[in-house]
Subunit: 435 residues, 2 copies
Amino acid sequence: MKEMVSGFSKKTKAEKAQWVAETFASNPAQTLEVFKTYTHPDPKVQELHDEFIENTLANYYLPFAVAPNFLIDHKVFAIPMVIEESSVVAAASKAAKFWADKGGFHTKIVGTEKVGHVHLNYFGPSEKLFAFFEAQQAAFEEALKPLTASMKKRGGGIRSLQLVDNTHKLEGYYHIALSFETKDAMGANFINSCLEQLAHDFSTKANEAFSAEEAPEVVMSILSNYVPHCTVRAWVSCPLEQLAYEGVDGATFAKKFCRAVAIAQAEPYRAVTHNKGIMNGIDAVVIASGNDFRAVEAGVHAFASRDGQYRSLTKAFITKTQELHFELEVPLALGTVGGLTALHPLVKQALDILGRPSAEDLMRITAVAGLAQNFAAVSSLVTTGIQKGHMKMHLLNLLNAEGASAEEKEALVAYFKDNTVSSAAVKQALNRLRQ
Amino acid sequence: MKEMVSGFSKKTKAEKAQWVAETFASNPAQTLEVFKTYTHPDPKVQELHDEFIENTLANYYLPFAVAPNFLIDHKVFAIPMVIEESSVVAAASKAAKFWADKGGFHTKIVGTEKVGHVHLNYFGPSEKLFAFFEAQQAAFEEALKPLTASMKKRGGGIRSLQLVDNTHKLEGYYHIALSFETKDAMGANFINSCLEQLAHDFSTKANEAFSAEEAPEVVMSILSNYVPHCTVRAWVSCPLEQLAYEGVDGATFAKKFCRAVAIAQAEPYRAVTHNKGIMNGIDAVVIASGNDFRAVEAGVHAFASRDGQYRSLTKAFITKTQELHFELEVPLALGTVGGLTALHPLVKQALDILGRPSAEDLMRITAVAGLAQNFAAVSSLVTTGIQKGHMKMHLLNLLNAEGASAEEKEALVAYFKDNTVSSAAVKQALNRLRQ
């Protein structure tokens, strides 16, 4: 089959692009031309981007934007956000401004514990495994010291290391659970290296101490992206009378708002989309800061289901003193050193614009972006509905999809100030204009 | 405070960039220069990207790469992947090649149902609400017809519409649940427009039929990203004797592999990272194809927790006929028309390289990318460990972070063929080379 290829990864970037275009594209010359225009003008910078991963053909663009006027713990930020979805940055900016004169956003780091496991099979008597582990634990810890020395200098390292019996979950399943403090690093490579070292030492000692049939066996060693003790809390609060929103008085607005959040606590179909909106804000900062959004997403949504039902990550209530309190607690294992943070030129700029934050600072800022996003979404939902604002923001995309000229765009942006935007309405209005 | 700003969204792109740089950057001129170099050479194309969202300052790069040799339902694909993490594309390519001569990947669309809800408060007698709803249902459906006409022409539309009593979840909470078929569109705007129309009609009729105190009240109307009936299944299978992997014989490898997946079924700490690896593959295709990864992530992880415990999305077992069967079922609400698919030049190329897939085709391809990723990750974990391959792939990033020259990179890539890669080892080796 002509579509199969050998030694692809060994080809040059140009050869790869050419093979892909000629084998799969409907217009190979055009495909190659598009790839070429999505290239950085400086070949050194382009090489850097090419080497992030394997088989790179071009630079995919996501908009790098900024949401200003965030007052967080009494300091003002303009938050860099990388996201392709219309209206997210506009909504964040609107929420930021709304809360700036009401005391702004407040945050608290609840914990910074990261975790990893050496997963084991063992079918002998449990006491024997625990006795072996206790006898060897000090030696295991000692053997990890060369790996943890530099992290220790920065105030981090391994915080605990224990054997856990999980046979109630799965027959013969134990793991060694480690907890880590990794300071300003996200720590994945550090944690995995420690775990693999421990797994190696454990296997060696276990093979000496147990018979071949009975010896515990390492299945795998890997960090966990489930970090329920690496969380940050962000909240806003203000008296109801300051809460008038889109023509709705403060007390009524607060009641509607709290009810919408309560529904997202009770109903998974709503909770998923509610939390998706929070992640619109969170991921936008995660990507801008060079962190791994799949890791954050997995940890956050698992956290949302931790009590056995998938629920809202935010809660909202009216206090006895007639204030609205609106709060998000979310697990965020982020880094501001290592990984892409030291490599991607726009990540460096994003971190600089944020005042070169520590990992804890970045947790705070990121959680606030999520809370702001949720405030904006729920506020729209319980007042004007979500489509009005969203479709206004999406209008330029709809016009661009129809190939509207600059003059046509100007005319129709004006027209849609007082008319409902929809894909069909845009097509109609454009046709009228062109007749 | 100088860091607060009014009318920011009304400024030009250049004015925004200048204000941000001057107010927050440590070296404003440098920040502006970096933004400028991350600009498309064609001003028309740049304008298109700027208008995706609000307050755009630059184009953020993610690598656009391709993983070749995917045999899916007897057809060969090179899958475009957009991802910043080292080794994901390499792992996908390796898994693709491994399975290509074992029958490749197989898929099945289980369902394509999308859903949305009008969420209601109602504290009167339940029968009265249901009686009202039954009496009005035909009129509600009739009023939606102008909105659904064009979708109906394409074979889609509203599939069902029913009132649901949720008062066991939350006092006074009902919703109108709608299910939709949106064909090749992801359908978010279509669904939300239908829901808001229905909410409007429902309110109007309810205010006529009920007293002011008793009338049901619309809290909000919105689609759900929880789509447990919009799923695709992807699987591979082959006789154990063909499964030798990294020096481990097929039967042993399959046993270790199935055990690792069983642990991810039983243990949430493992399940989260296991599924995160699946999402490395899935999100890379979701982004390349112009879809919304936050929507997919939220739906997928909620699906993983649907039985009350967060679990692996894949399962693996050895059949009676001594074959390994490895399978993923995952909810994926994707579109191949509308949204960014018609706008982003690289998304257009990605879809073209994939043969201009229908939404169902794209579900199949995306699920396969997730399954391949999981196969590669678990295979590494139970044989060589994850760090060896990952750090080799990450080596160029570590060298770039240290400012290595082309000659230094060449020398050290050769050196690390036989030596363990770590951040510290790279620094040491580079220092030796420079002495």
